[in-house]
Amino acid sequence: MVLNCRHVWDYISGYLDNTLDAQTRADVEKHLEHCEICSAVLDSTRNILILTADDRVFELPVGFSERLHARLTQAIAETPPDEPESSV
């Protein structure tokens, strides 16, 4: 099946996750071979996913761990786990 660009955009996630059936994947690849725009959409989406997943985008605040464990120590001292009066 000959796909137009709009169809290909609908398949970008499936293509990246490798969840397309073999025929659709082949159709998408055939389109990508000659379509500069869709190739750039695919590459840019993939690269943006790599960048957003990078640990440097979100960093733990300085001292986060120390403050967390200090607060936990206090909470643990106050209550044993699953005291009857507590509720989620």
Binding site: G14, T45, L51, R56, F58, L72, I76, D82
Partner: protein, 206 residues
């Protein structure tokens, strides 16, 4: 998931905490501090509030540890607790913001149509400006898409786990993730392209 986490016997650690060795709880949660904070931050946008929500989530996890059922992963359970905590805070601040989204509605996202896209090198993340652009684009996603995106892309949960954590279908997870990805592409591709200087010239001899 790093192998050292897989190798830990978390069931035994949880039993020790419940049996009275409460200090083991510190060790139990240590690998998940970042995940829990990230989940809170992705909903709340405010570092101080995200930190507070993360702390609350860990305290709730401690207090309700006996309710944890080992059929799900401990980390997944922690994520669902912090998600509830963050959603509750969000609702109190902005009621209506977490309203459901119609995943079956037509209307696909049109990506940014650039040509000559160059790979944005990961060294560009050394620059605060680039990290800010990415964080802002993520924060502008609708909440329902952002939750799916963070669980799938940042927390590396599979479709099934994401669906269970959020209480939605696998089909919705896939649809929201797809739309979130294209929305980010649409927003970020032009910004990154202009923010990152072209490192390789087409004709280096010029």
């Amino acid at each position: 998931m790093p192998p050292q986490i897989e190798a830990r016997d978390e069931t035994a650690m949880i039993e020790r905490v419940l049996g009275g060795q409460t200090e083991t709880f510190h060790e139990l949660i240590r690998p998940y501090e970042r995940s829990v904070y990230l989940m809170a931050l992705s909903l709340l946008h405010n570092e101080a509030e995200a930190e507070d929500a993360a702390q609350e989530a860990f305290i709730k996890a401690y207090r309700h540890l006996s309710k944890f059922r080992s059929e799900s992963r401990f980390s997944t359970w922690l994520i669902s607790i912090v998600l509830n905590e963050a959603r509750g805070r969000l609702r109190r601040k902005q009621p209506g913001l977490t309203d459901s989204i119609d995943d079956t509605a037509e209307g696909s996202v049109t990506p940014a149509q650039l040509t000559d896209w160059r790979e944005i090198p990961s060294e560009s993340l050394e620059r605060q400006e680039i990290r800010t652009l990415i964080r802002r684009a993520l924060s502008e996603l609708p909440v329902a898409y952002r939750e799916v995106f963070v669980l799938r892309e940042l927390e590396e949960r599979n479709v099934q786990e994401t669906a269970e954590t959020l209480g939605i279908t696998s089909a919705s997870v896939k649809m929201r993730l797809h739309r979130a990805r294209l929305m980010l592409q649409k927003q970020l591709a032009p910004q990154l392209k202009s923010a990152v200087p072209v490192s390789r010239r087409r004709f280096p001899w010029f």
